[in-house]
């Protein structure tokens, strides 16, 4: 199923983006020095910047991008809606709200567990699926997206309220909510790994039945799949993936929209091809956005969520320009 001509170029693209992210940053480190580190030499400070600051960011970008890209592709196939995206539908907002509640209750973002974030994502995901079950909403992509956007707005105003009531929480939430993968270390990455592995297995298990489900529930049943079980699997996978990504990077909009869109444009509508292409493309988008966030306002950094919104929203415009929305 990898047989699309774009599959390997996509990995090469990811490689190039990753290399760039190691070589360029907000610091005054010279390019020559960064190269030296990659060649196994370099000064102690250069090694620190490249290997201990930029490399973990690269790794976290990899994981976040992978999770959001795959979650978006799954959700879009399940709801048959090319606009269904964890960020737009309120799954990320659910996750963010849960984290805000945890911060209000006394947790600190530094010591926060992934679990809270995933629980919030699961709740958000459940609401989305409930909404698609309502007559008329599942068939109407715009209504689903608007319902999601409204849910996001509701949760975001609740978060604003929390920030208003508790100023200490506000301080922590403000820095987290705009999205960033700076300052994370391997430890935080490893806390999300078990759930990522679990969702990986789920994705492998549901990819084929999901592809036949795209042909209609009756066809899927005829092929011996159980649509209810497949849907449940997808919901859990999306929640685990989005929850992990949000715990690592804060709520990021549009990544789950842009990546599967590009993947489908390159590889066609089959979910398995889309998923294979999302593997390199998701990380490439996050890592490119993160590199930009470091370069634009050096010596400071820009919030990552702002960059993904600025990159992603125009793609949304392109989608509605070039496609008839209600088909997938």
């Amino acid at each position: 199923m990898k047989s699309t001509p774009y599959y390997w170029p996509a990995w090469i693209l990811l490689g190039l983006v990753g290399l760039t992210s190691l070589l360029f940053g907000a610091g005054t480190l010279e390019l020559r020095q960064a190269f030296a580190v990659l060649a196994g030499q370099g000064t102690e400070e250069a090694r620190f910047i490249v290997l201990e600051l930029r490399l973990p960011r690269l790794a976290i970008g990899l994981v976040t991008g992978l999770a959001l890209g795959v979650a978006g592709a799954l959700l879009q196939t399940l709801t048959r809606n090319p606009l269904a995206e964890p960020g737009l539908l309120g799954v990320s907002a659910g996750s963010a709200f849960a984290v805000s509640l945890a911060i209000l209750a006394g947790a600190s973002t530094a010591t926060l567990t992934t679990l809270v974030s995933q629980a919030g994502a699961l709740a958000g995901c459940g609401l989305v699926i409930l909404a698609t079950r309502i007559q008329g909403v599942g068939q109407d992509p715009v209504r689903l997206v608007l319902a999601g956007a409204t849910l996001s707005a509701l949760l975001m105003s609740l978060t604003s309220l929390i920030m208003l009531i508790d100023q200490r929480a506000a301080d922590e939430i403000r820095f987290w909510i705009t999205g960033s993968i700076a300052g994370k270390n391997w430890e935080q990455l490893t806390t999300t790994l078990p759930t990522l592995v679990i969702s990986g297995f789920i994705v492998i298990a549901v990819a084929k039945p999901l592809a036949s489900l795209a042909l209609g529930e009756r066809v899927a049943r005829g092929l011996g799949h159980r649509p209810g079980l497949v849907q449940l699997g997808v919901v859990i996978a999306v929640a685990l993936l989005t929850g992990s990504a949000t715990a690592l990077a804060g709520p990021l909009m549009f990544v789950g929209l842009v990546v599967p869109f590009v993947a489908r444009a390159l590889g066609g509508a089959d979910i398995r091809k889309t998923l294979w292409l999302c593997l390199p493309l998701g990380p490439a988008m996050i890592i490119a956005a993160d590199t930009l966030s470091r370069l634009l306002v050096a010596p400071s950094e820009m919030p990552l969520g702002v960059i993904t919104a600025l990159l992603g929203a125009p793609v949304l415009l392109v989608i509605i320009r070039t496609r008839r929305i209600p088909t997938l």
């Binding site: 940053g25 907000a26 610091g27 005054t28 480190l29 400070e45 620190f48 910047i49 201990e52 600051l53 930029r54 600190s108 973002t109 530094a110 010591t111 508790d166 100023q167 200490r168 301080d171 820095f175 987290w176 960033s180 700076a182 300052g183 994370k184 270390n185 430890e187 470091r294 050096a298 010596p299 400071s300 950094e301």
Partner: protein, 321 residues
């Protein structure tokens, strides 16, 4: 008899004249005074009794000169007045936040004097000045000398000029003491330092012109925010971890909003970048209260900050020797 009487009345006259002169003088001096503010001269009669402070520096100056305000705004990053002054302020009524003054609540306190910050807008002044004489300082916001000028101004408005002068003298004496202590304990380490906050993304560097930075400078430190906090960004600015070298000074003052500074320090120490700071390796990270160090101002805040510096010098020098 006549002479005596004349003498007496003459004396009497002289006496009452002297009394009247003294009275007029004291009236002009203490009972009606004209105060220059950002929005023109304001005249105040007598000793105000119901004072509302809309600025942390004003609350501090009022309490330092012996006046307990009836209303005050919350501190930035808190839900009441700043911790360091809570006890002295007692059950002062909250009348809003620094950026969002609740004028109704000010009216509710029925004040006879309002002390505000130089950031008060003209629209707000127009309303507040109708409730009570409103003092808006006209000094540059971020300058190490500003708090002294403000304290003099506020104490004059409160009719406690002498107390104001005294407390400023006390702070200056204490500054010299602490400066001597710093010189003694700093030894041959460089005097460079920075005041930062540590977020998971990296450091937020406080301006060199901040109130607490000014006191550090007065005690002999060289506060070096490495030009990160640019003009037009007066308070603080985030810095990328890659540029940590710009603030890798021998001493770092770490402002925290958590009640427990050790907890915040432990959280920051999880970061590999933070671990590399020479101040961290040499145990010269000094955790300080963020409310006090990043948003307070005034003589009492100054004394508290100076105490923090002195404590740090005593504990750290013994630790490193």
């Amino acid at each position: 008899m006549r002479i005596l009487q004349t003498d007496f009345s003459f004396r009497h006259l002289l006496g009452s004249l002297a009394f009247m002169v003294a009275m007029t003088a004291s009236l002009a001096h203490a009972d009606t005074r004209e105060i220059a503010t950002a929005y023109g001269p304001v005249s105040i009669n007598g000793t105000p009794e119901r004072v509302v402070t809309l600025y942390e520096g004003a609350l501090d100056a009022a309490i330092a000169t012996g006046v307990k305000p009836v209303g005050a705004v919350i501190t930035r990053g808190g839900t009441g007045v700043a911790e360091y002054i809570q006890e002295k302020a007692g059950n002062v009524e909250i009348v809003g936040a620094p950026g969002e003054i609740n004028i109704e609540a000010v009216v509710g306190q029925n004040p006879d004097l309002i002390l505000a910050s130089s950031r008060l807008t003209e629209e707000q002044y127009a309303l507040l000045s109708r409730i009570a004489p409103t003092i808006v300082p006209d000094f540059p916001t971020l300058s190490p000398e500003t708090w002294k000028k403000e304290t003099r101004l506020f104490s004059l408005a409160l009719g406690r000029e002498e107390a104001g002068t005294n407390i400023i003298d006390t702070v200056e004496e204490r500054t010299l003491e602490v400066a001597a202590l710093v010189e003694k304990h700093l030894g041959d380490t460089s005097t460079n330092t920075a005041v930062i906050r540590w977020m998971p993304q990296g450091p937020v560097v406080m301006s060199e012109d901040l109130f607490s930075s000014g006191l550090l400078a007065a005690t002999g430190f060289e506060v070096n925010a490495a030009d990160i906090v640019k003009e037009g960004r007066p308070h603080s600015h985030p810095l990328s971890q890659e540029n940590l070298g710009m603030i890798d000074h021998p001493w770092i003052f770490l402002a925290t909003l958590n009640a427990d500074g050790d907890e915040a320090l432990a959280a920051a120490r999880k970061s590999h970048a933070f671990q590399r700071l020479q101040a961290n390796r040499n145990d010269r990270i000094i955790t300080v209260n963020g409310q006090l160090w990043s948003s307070a101002s005034g003589p009492l805040a100054a004394l508290q900050i100076l105490d923090d510096i002195a404590d740090a010098m005593k504990s750290r020098s013994s630790a490193t020797q």
